[in-house]
């Protein structure tokens, strides 16, 4: 496939965090979503939306007794920066794994730009870049080798893979570490090189599971800039996170998942309804308790 976002490199460093702030109103081509009411519009339709970058319908996954994902339907519009939030164990990772062809769903349909991920995995995967949470990398390769390897795996020729690797390493500020084994990278560098591997085949959709976990604030800000650049270059980004503040500042759309279900989705402004996203999240998810902890833990 062709380069969808050749403009990414130029976007990165010069625009400071200000740009990632409040979501622009939904692009006019997209019909506005109804706030918070668990998708009362065309998500009701059993057919996935071919115009969406990612469309989920009735996804179900059960592990033993536990129903990790319980009928999730979601449309991620093209060109959106979509946040997937939820408490630990809500089914975010399971949903994203099924959406990217890494985990077989028990039921449900996933399409990426209209291509059924589970019926045509190779075509679909060519359009997706994945950053899997908690997965290892081939960390006995150098950073440079790893990105070239990722490129070659997605079927591009070697000169392309090498030149794109050079661009990405520069974009992510990893040139100095290009020859270092990935195993010796810090957590932030590891996330960045994994991101480079996910972006090297110029996907139209980036699916990032917890991209900011164990990343220091500076690296996180840099990654945010790069993702912002990717979106303004016409790409779509989905991130899962449980850092509400980040999602509120970075994303234009958000879906709240708890207990394997979507409890709210839409633009960030719609979902938070004037309140702070974190308060709204706690309200939707519940489970907040006020306690002082046991007596023996108190030292004064």
């Amino acid at each position: 496939m062709t380069d969808v976002n050749p403009s990414v490199p130029s976007e990165g460093a010069d625009v400071a965090p200000a740009r990632v702030a409040p979501a622009p109103p939904t692009p006019s081509s997209m019909q506005p979503e109804v706030p918070a009411a668990a998708g009362q519009h065309r998500i009701d339709s059993p057919e996935p939306d071919p115009r969406a970058a990612l469309s989920l319908r009735g996804l179900v996954k059960t592990f033993g007794q536990k129903r990790a994902v319980d009928g999730i339907s979601l449309d991620v519009p093209v060109g959106s920066f979509y946040g997937l939030v939820g408490p630990n164990g809500a089914g975010k990772t399971t949903t994203l794994n099924m959406a990217t062809g890494l985990l077989t769903p028990d039921a449900g349909v996933v399409t990426v730009h209209g291509v059924d991920v589970w019926r045509h995995p190779l075509t679909a995967k060519a359009q997706i870049g994945v950053l899997a949470d908690g997965a290892r990398l081939f960390d006995r390769l150098t950073g440079e080798q790893l990105v070239v390897y990722s490129g070659l795996l997605s079927g591009m020729d070697r000169p392309t893979a090498i030149s794109r690797t050079r661009d990405l390493l520069q974009l992510l500020d990893l040139q100095d570490a290009a020859g270092t084994l990935v195993v010796d990278y810090s957590a932030g560098m590891t996330k960045k090189i994994a991101l480079a591997g996910a972006m090297v085949h110029a996907p139209r959709l980036l699916v990032l599971d917890e991209p900011f976990e164990s990343v220091d604030p500076v690296s996180a800000a840099n990654i945010r800039d790069i993702l912002g650049g990717f979106v303004s270059g016409g790409g779509t980004v989905i991130v899962s996170s449980h850092v509400m503040d980040l999602v509120q500042r970075m994303c234009d759309h958000v879906a709240v998942i708890t207990g394997g279900r979507v409890v709210a989705s839409g633009t960030v402004d719609e979902v938070r309804g004037g309140a702070d996203l974190e308060d709204r999240f706690v309200e939707l998810v519940g489970g907040r308790r006020v306690q002082e902890g046991p007596e023996w833990l108190r030292h004064s």
Partner: protein, 522 residues
């Protein structure tokens, strides 16, 4: 604290029953086998009451030395269960000495430890005539068994300590184990040269009784023979051995508590792609290049790679001692076989990094070709060179064509068979960067099942070449040898192609399931 560690060990043992029926069966079979061996040993030990003291001495000293040697060397070959190893416990505020005692006792609680301990204690049963000696034997038995457990712990922790240090990360880390692995043949060689002198076993026992391996076991019989001074000397040797082993173990453990496995750093010049820049720029080529990097950079692969130079050496040892030159010719086919079936662990070794292959939508066939090709790159030349080298060593060229034919069949067929197996099952393997000498709970049954099945299929795949090799050796007719080579050259690639194709199809279908299992094991 010590009791807590022992309880933890027992809990792990009990929970391992719950993992699967296969595991339970394996544990029960292992337990029964252990009981049987123990029963035979105990019977034998009591029977020694009716034997002359000299004989009892020879048997106990040699047996004890052998067991001690086994405890020292076997952990290097076979990974031992290390549920309670240093790094796991390093977050708890346990004083080092209590930790040592706890680990020692929990080592005795495990099946091999318990069998050794019981058998050692029951050496007292051979001295029913002399109650005083029986008491000494009891004490020595406990000391000997504890030495065994400590020795294995010391060897593994020292080896792990070295292997995770940065200088030993690569080839050097594995090369250092070669002399240790060859220790067996060397000792066997010494023993077999002693065999030519008369009355060799008693004199060997006498020699062993002065070594750290046998000293403790010789103390009771020395007293029984009326040589208290000799007994005291051996007791001193034994005590010194225990002290040294304890210090080494303590050092290794203390080191492992403060040395995380990932404490290395290594920078290469950028722009150097290594094999990734040399092999074809396709998914299969990239995978082959990546696998080659791993074969020569990852201790887990290096451990398997070491057999290539080692196997001919080992067989050559045995030839010189047994004077059966034919043994050495097996080197080529054995190396071919071992390299072919190593691929079974390939996806398991990837661990969750395999997610990259799934996420990029790598076609299963490309994945299989890449992995197999990486082994062929060094495996094929290695097998050919070894076969010719061994022939040159004995100036015996007749079996060479047939051996090459069989080697091709085993290498290519083995790669083909394990291409399918490794697409069907993954099992818990040592994680990247972990101690390569470590097994994971639950690894053995899954591994053994799929390994034996693969070997069975491989035996069928290679049957034509096996038959032709035998015919050529029996008839001595070169024609059969050349025919074997021809069949190997033709059938080998065919079986590899079939395996890759089949394995690729299975992988296309099962990759998400494999990934789920890998995540569970990680």
């Amino acid at each position: 604290m010590v009791a807590a560690l022992v309880r933890l060990r027992l809990l792990v043992l009990r929970n391992s029953f719950k993992r699967s029926v296969g595991q339970l069966v394996a544990v029960i079979l292992g337990g029964l086998y252990g009981l049987f061996v123990l029963g035979m040993i105990v019977l034998g030990l009591f029977a020694l009451n009716f034997a002359p003291t000299e004989l009892a001495r020879t048997i106990v000293v040699l047996g004890g030395s052998l067991v001690t040697l086994g405890w020292a060397v076997l952990p290097l070959f076979f990974s031992v269960e290390q549920t309670l190893d240093g790094p796991h416990l390093s977050v708890f505020p346990i004083p080092l000495n209590k930790l040592l005692v706890g680990l020692l006792v929990s080592g005795v609680v495990a099946v091999p430890g318990a069998v050794t301990m019981l058998a050692s204690i029951l050496t007292a049963g051979s001295w029913l005539r002399l109650p005083g000696v029986a008491v000494i034997a009891l004490v020595c038995g406990v000391a000997g068994a504890l030495l065994c457990v400590m020795l294995s712990r010391a060897v593994t922790s020292a080896a792990a300590g070295l292997a995770s240090g940065r200088r030993f990360k690569e080839a050097a880390g594995i090369l250092i184990f070669i002399p240790l692995i060859l220790l067996g043949p060397i000792i066997a060689g010494t023993a077999s040269s002693l065999r030519h002198s008369a009355n060799v076993l008693p004199s060997l026992a006498d020699a062993m009784s002065w070594t750290p391996l046998g000293a403790i076991w010789a103390i009771p019989s020395q007293v029984a023979l009326g040589d208290p001074l000799g007994a005291v000397f051996r007791a001193l040797i034994g005590a010194a051995t225990i002290a040294v082993v304890f210090v080494v173990w303590r050092w290794g453990l203390a080191r492992s508590l403060v040395t995380p496995v990932h404490a290395t750093s290594r920078v290469r010049a950028s722009g150097k792609l290594g094999p990734l820049g040399l092999l074809p720029g396709t998914p299969a080529g990239a995978i082959a290049a990546r696998c080659l990097v791993y074969w020569f950079r990852d201790p887990r692969y290096l451990r398997q790679l070491v057999i290539v130079p080692l196997m001919p050496l080992l067989l050559w040892f045995y030839t010189t001692f047994t004077h059966v030159p034919a043994i050495v010719f097996a080197a080529g086919p054995i190396v071919a076989f071992l390299l072919g079936v190593t691929l079974i662990a390939d996806v398991s070794f990837d661990s969750t990094a395999f997610v990259l292959h799934v996420a990029k939508g790598v076609p299963g066939r490309a994945d299989r070709w890449g992995r197999a090709f990486a082994v062929l790159v060094f495996g094929l030349p290695a097998v050919v060179v070894i076969t010719f080298l061994m022939a040159a060593l004995h100036s015996e060229w007749m079996p060479v064509p047939a051996l090459l034919g069989l080697s091709f069949a085993l290498l290519l067929g083995g790669l083909g068979v394990s291409s399918v197996t490794s697409a069907v099952v993954v099992f818990p393997a040592p994680a990247p960067g972990d101690n390569p000498f470590k097994t994971r709970a639950g690894a053995n049954t899954a591994l053994l099942g799929s390994t034996f099945l693969s070997w069975g299929v491989l035996a069928i795949v290679a049957a034509p070449e096996i038959v032709l090799l035998i015919v050529s050796l029996v008839t001595g007719d070169m024609l059969w040898g050349w025919l074997c080579l021809l069949v190997g050259v033709v059938l080998g690639p065919i079986s590899l192609a079939i395996g890759v194709r089949l394995g690729g199809q299975v992988l296309d279908r099962r990759a998400p399931q494999l990934l789920m299992q890998l995540r569970k094991d990680a």
